[in-house]
Amino acid sequence: MGIELDCRGMECPAPVLQVRNALEKDASDTITILVDNEAARQNVSRFLEYQNYRVDSERCGSDYRVAGTRGEGVGTPETAASVPVIGERQVGNKKIMVLITSVHMGHGDDSLGDMLMFNYIKTLKEMRPYLWRVMFVNSGVSFTAEGSEAVPVLQELASAGVGIFACGACLAYFHILDKIQVGQVTNMLEIVTSMQHADSVVTV
């Protein structure tokens, strides 16, 4: 049996939360939601698509009926069953922060270290969905700046919702403050509070 929800009379974000709660209790393959405003219609549709449902919506008088289906035959990705119902970042409350402090990985040979670090950054995506923030300090900030081959890799992480941060004082020190290509300029306060809020901090 599918879920049916009446979310009329609700302002955003309440309809999305109702749908989320309903799907957390029962990950049904079909769900129908009644809403009475355009913003709620679009938000509920977006949420269902985010959860890999195929969405149809239609007008019913002054209301809208939004229907979501998933499962066999509706083109749902195979991984759908394991996709967490809420944003990945909230699942299990596990948030990993990675602090990159240098252009080299480890000590010994610096050109080997360069290669290893770039490879590490390329492989970081495997840490998702738990990868929360990547913060760059000292010479590490150059990965976020013009001319670094890590820029597209980090852009991909950023568009997947991972926070990319580069220390502003470090960028200024290396005279590349205006060359930053990806992520946000940050400060020590944010680095410290991020460490506090992360469940684990990996320093490289």
């Binding site: 302002e11 955003c12 974000p13 999305v16 939360l17 405003n37 355009e38 913003a39 679009q42 938000n43 509920v44 549709s45 977006r46 949420f47 985010y50 809420i86 944003g87 990945e88 970042r89 909230q90 948030k95 852009q155 950023a158 568009s159 919702g161 991972v162 926070g163 990319i164 502003g168 200024a172 403050l177 205006d178 992520g183 946000q184 300029v185 940050t186 400060n187 944010e190 509070t193 991020s194 506090q196 809020h197």
Partner: protein, 350 residues
């Protein structure tokens, strides 16, 4: 920081959050269109050429610049709400190139359901920003209402020949934005209880940051037009500049500073109704390249509370302006696009 008093979460007590609660822009135009307004030659900027603030000339070298802004809470912390509401109201003066001097509190307070100590904290937050801005509080007005609202009416000084309006874009100018976008979506996530403390702290700090430093740095450069990004969203306010100036703009979506967290919440549908209102009102002016994802498009229409300044600066000075902004703590400032002669009155986002 005190996040709750008597377990009241301010954002749970109101329908809309912050500037996302603004009346839909099309509705406002319908209400004002065709009204017979009093005429005065000294009114340099008034309702007919709607700008960030009104300007009234007193003498050849002095004009008053006036604005008012108030809204429901977008964060749960009363003191932070006061700071943000004050920073947001003061911003209109800075966006015109003026210096704020006096302010009056505007308060709607649900005294039957909320402890009066909450109002005290809100006003303390407002005063904190007034002090930082060098503004004196001259009075205020408080009404009882079912929903909490707070803001300021602000008066400042400006030289009548140095007013920065939205309408003087020049083809070739670069557009610089000074704060990240996404506060409307993040406020919605806060209301939904999904935002973690780290992003709440970051966005609260940014919304409470005065546009004073950005404005004073900007005044040292060849700036042709300026506005501040608030309830109509980045593209909504940009559309006003485009329509009033007759120029077109090209925006590089990837260069627009935004809160990375807001992307995922946009994808989840945690989008304030104001975003959709802004899009339906101004969407017709905007051509999105296919590479610009739906969630980024949503963010560019997202109503901002106490957003950054959007500055049209002579191209040859754009890099210097951004470097000066970065060096003075306006860390998110970035060149987000350029003004073009053709296509006129279009916004191309690529």
């Amino acid at each position: 920081m005190i996040s709750t008093i008597n377990n009241i979460r301010l954002t749970q007590t109101v329908k809309g959050a912050g500037c996302a609660a603004k009346l839909a822009p099309g509705d406002l135009d319908r209400a004002l269109c065709g009204l017979d307004l009093p005429v005065d030659d000294n009114l340099l900027v008034g309702l007919e050429q709607a700008d960030d603030a009104g300007v009234y000339k007193i003498s050849d070298d002095l004009a008053l610049v006036q604005t008012i802004d108030f809204f429901p809470p977008m964060v749960d912390d009363p003191y932070a709400f006061g700071q943000i509401a004050a920073a947001n109201a003061l911003s209109d003066i800075y966006a015109m190139g003026g210096i704020p001097k006096t302010a009056m509190n505007v308060v709607a307070f649900p005294a039957k359901t909320m402890d009066i100590s909450i109002l005290r904290l809100i006003i303390e937050g407002g005063l904190n920003k007034m002090r930082e801005a060098g503004v004196v509080l001259v009075g205020g007005h408080t009404v009882e209402d079912s929903e909490l609202k707070y803001g300021l009416s602000v008066t400042g000084f400006i030289h009548p020949d140095r007013i920065l309006t939205k309408r003087c874009l020049l083809a070739g100018d670069c557009l610089v934005l000074t704060k990240p976008v996404g506060t409307g979506i993040i406020s919605t996530a806060i209301k939904a209880g999904l935002a973690g403390q780290a992003i709440i702290d970051t966005v609260t700090r940014n919304m409470a940051t005065l546009n004073r430093d950005a404005a004073s740095i900007m005044l040292g450069f060849t700036v042709h037009a300026c506005t501040d990004i608030t309830g109509f969203g980045f593209l909504g306010h940009l559309a006003e500049m485009v329509v009033y100036s007759g120029c077109g703009v090209r925006i590089k979506a990837a260069n627009v500073p935004l809160y990375p967290e807001s992307l995922e919440w946009a994808a989840m549908g945690l989008i304030p109704a104001g975003t959709y209102n802004n899009r339906s009102f101004r969407g017709a002016f905007v051509d999105f390249d296919m590479n610009v994802s739906q969630k980024v498009q949503d963010l560019l229409f997202d109503p901002q509370t106490s957003g950054g300044l959007l500055i049209a600066v002579a191209a040859r000075e754009a890099d210097m302006l951004v470097a000066a902004l970065h060096a003075n703590g306006v860390e998110s400032a970035a060149i987000v696009g350029e003004v073009v002669a053709e296509p006129a009155e279009r916004i191309i986002v690529e």
